[in-house]
């Protein structure tokens, strides 16, 4: 179905919280430099799935995982995989914007710094470029020393995106990145995604079906831990193949 090159590939991925199964045999190919949206009712496993792509679930106690997740054809759940390196490659943006209580500059420079980049000129350059990419530079360039927390909600979220971009990831995972924002800030984030997908592979979880329709190239409909349908967004929202999907997108579900 997908003719682009594949960036992320899950094969029979199942995930359990204790004995509770949250993901059931998910096999999904996520294309390079496209936006892939995950939709589905609450608790269907969207966040769980996205967090298993950078092994953020490792932080939760009691999690067990079956199956495989390939990123650039490397199974990230293999024994000898370094989670820290993986997470540099796979950036993540969270629902609630979470800038560090530091200056804007320090927020963006955090990632490069912990990776051992100490030279001020290099850092300056990275900070500027990342903020530009996150479409925030113009708004903050004169006050890089202001606290990241002094920004508005929408700006904070873009700051978090800039911070993620600063470590040069290839993939951006976004878990409801705009659900706490008002329509204006949401529009800005969505706009940003159109631009970012030129260089990054983006996976976004969203509760907002209209948002999924607007921003994504591909959409996966999750239900009860399974992928019911996965297709081009256009197709999913005009002529979905499964009755369940159609019921969900037209609001007739349940």
């Amino acid at each position: 179905m997908i003719h682009n090159s594949i960036k992320i590939q899950t094969k029979n991925l199942s995930l359990f919280y204790g004995t509770k199964q949250a993901l059931n045999n998910i096999t999904l190919d996520i294309p390079t430099n496209r936006v892939t949206a995950l939709i589905g009712p609450s608790g269907c496993g969207k966040s769980t799935f996205i967090r298993s792509l950078n092994r953020m679930n490792d932080l939760i106690e009691n999690v067990s995982i079956n199956g495989e997740v390939f990123i650039d054809a490397v199974n990230i759940y293999e024994e000898n995989i370094d989670v820290v390196e993986l997470r540099k490659k796979v950036g993540m943006i969270f629902q609630k914007s979470n800038p560090f209580p530091k200056s804007i500059y320090e927020n963006v420079a955090y990632g490069p710094k912990i990776n051992g980049i100490g030279k001020k000129s290099v850092l300056d350059e990275i900070v500027e470029r990342s903020l530009m990419r996150a479409a925030l530079w113009d708004e903050v360039k004169d006050e890089l020393n202001k606290s990241g927390l002094a920004l508005s909600g929408g700006q904070q979220q873009r700051l978090c995106i800039a911070r993620a971009l600063a470590v040069d990831p290839e993939i951006l995972l976004m878990d409801e990145p705009a659900s706490a924002l008002d329509p204006l800030s949401t529009a800005k984030i969505e706009e940003l995604m159109y631009e970012l997908k030129e260089n990054y592979t983006i996976v976004i979880v969203t509760h907002n079906m209209q948002q999924a329709a607007r921003v994504s190239d591909f959409t996966a409909f999750f239900y009860l831990g399974e992928v019911i349908e996965y297709d081009e967004t256009k197709k999913l929202f005009t002529i979905p193949a499964k009755k369940q999907t159609e019921d969900y997108v037209t609001g007739r579900f349940g």
């Binding site: 953020m56 997470r87 969270f94 979470n98 560090f100 955090y110 990632g111």
Partner: protein, 299 residues
């Protein structure tokens, strides 16, 4: 109408309760200050007791108390802080080890201070001290196997350990999990995350924990009763193996065992007041710090 009456009385009764407490506090503070004001002089603070403690100052007791809390903090605060870091950052609730530590901290917090005293006596003075003497001098000389500053400080450090741990854990938990996730998702290691994100955002909390512990330690008497405090010493403690005087104990002995309790009443009041001021200064700074943290969290 009936609603109004009930409402009024509910508020009245609860307000009275609150004000009763405030009144007690003010009354006690006032009484102690007035009772001791006559004797509260610079001299009182800087000289040793004399005339079989019928007169003179409390200098050695102040020094003893300060030394005690100092040594105690040096011993206890790092342990408490590291334990708190473990509990908040590394612990996995599934591990038996974690549950064990958590259980130990909770239990420790509830152990009566007098039991700590017993423990200090049984463990430090007799077991450890005795062992050391045996090792160092072959048991010929009695140096460590008796109450002294070190053992009292150790006992006190353990007594205050849960205070440190609980308030540092609180401070660490107040650092939103989102910040940790943010750091980890940027490819930071766990220790990097703790050092660069968690600790910088909780150092006031750690400080509060330390001060609270010190405040608690400065006021406690029961644990040192048999682990190091002395009734009267002609000179200041010279080493960790010396006994020491203590403000709290000083109040206690003067009030209960002095030959003429009535005559030294002023001294007693003054001593109690000094002790109170010492613990207050500590507690107050902790309170102020804690309020600042809370308001920062609410933001």
């Amino acid at each position: 109408m009936r609603k109004k009456i009930i409402g009024g009385s509910v508020i009245f009764v609860s307000a009275s309760a609150a004000f009763v407490i405030v009144f007690i506090v003010i009354f006690m503070l006032g009484a102690l200050f007035i009772g001791g004001s006559e004797k509260l002089t610079w001299e009182f603070l800087t000289t040793a007791p004399s005339d079989g403690m019928m007169s003179g100052g409390i200098f050695p007791a102040i020094i003893g108390t300060v030394l005690l809390v100092l040594v105690m903090s040096i011993l206890g605060v790092p342990v408490g802080t590291l334990t708190a870091i473990y509990l908040s950052e590394y612990a996995n609730k599934r591990f038996f080890f974690t549950r064990m530590i958590q259980f130990a901290v909770n239990t420790l917090a509830g152990v009566p201070s007098i039991v700590f005293g017993l423990f200090g006596l049984g463990f430090f003075v007799q077991f450890v001290g005795g062992g050391m003497d045996k090792l160092l001098t072959g048991g010929l000389e009695l140096k460590w196997a008796q109450p002294n500053l070190l053992w009292a400080s150790f006992t006190m450090a353990f007594l205050t350990l849960p205070v440190v741990i609980v308030s540092v854990v609180e401070a660490l938990r107040a650092v939103p999990n989102e910040l940790r996730e943010a750091s980890l998702s940027l490819g930071a290691t766990k220790w990097q995350t703790i050092r660069k994100v968690v600790l910088p955002n909780s150092y006031t909390g750690i400080l509060t924990g330390a001060i609270l512990a010190v405040g608690r330690g400065a006021g406690e008497v029961a644990p040192i009763l048999f682990t190091g405090v002395a009734y009267f010493l002609p000179h200041l403690p010279q080493s960790l193996s010396d006994q020491f005087m203590h403000l709290g104990y000083h109040v206690y002995v003067m009030a209960t065992q002095s030959p003429d309790v009535e005559a030294t009443l002023g001294l007693q009041y003054a001593t109690a007041f000094v002790l109170l001021v010492l613990t207050f200064t500590l507690n107050l700074s902790a309170i102020i710090l804690r309020y600042r943290i809370r308001s920062k969290i609410i933001r």
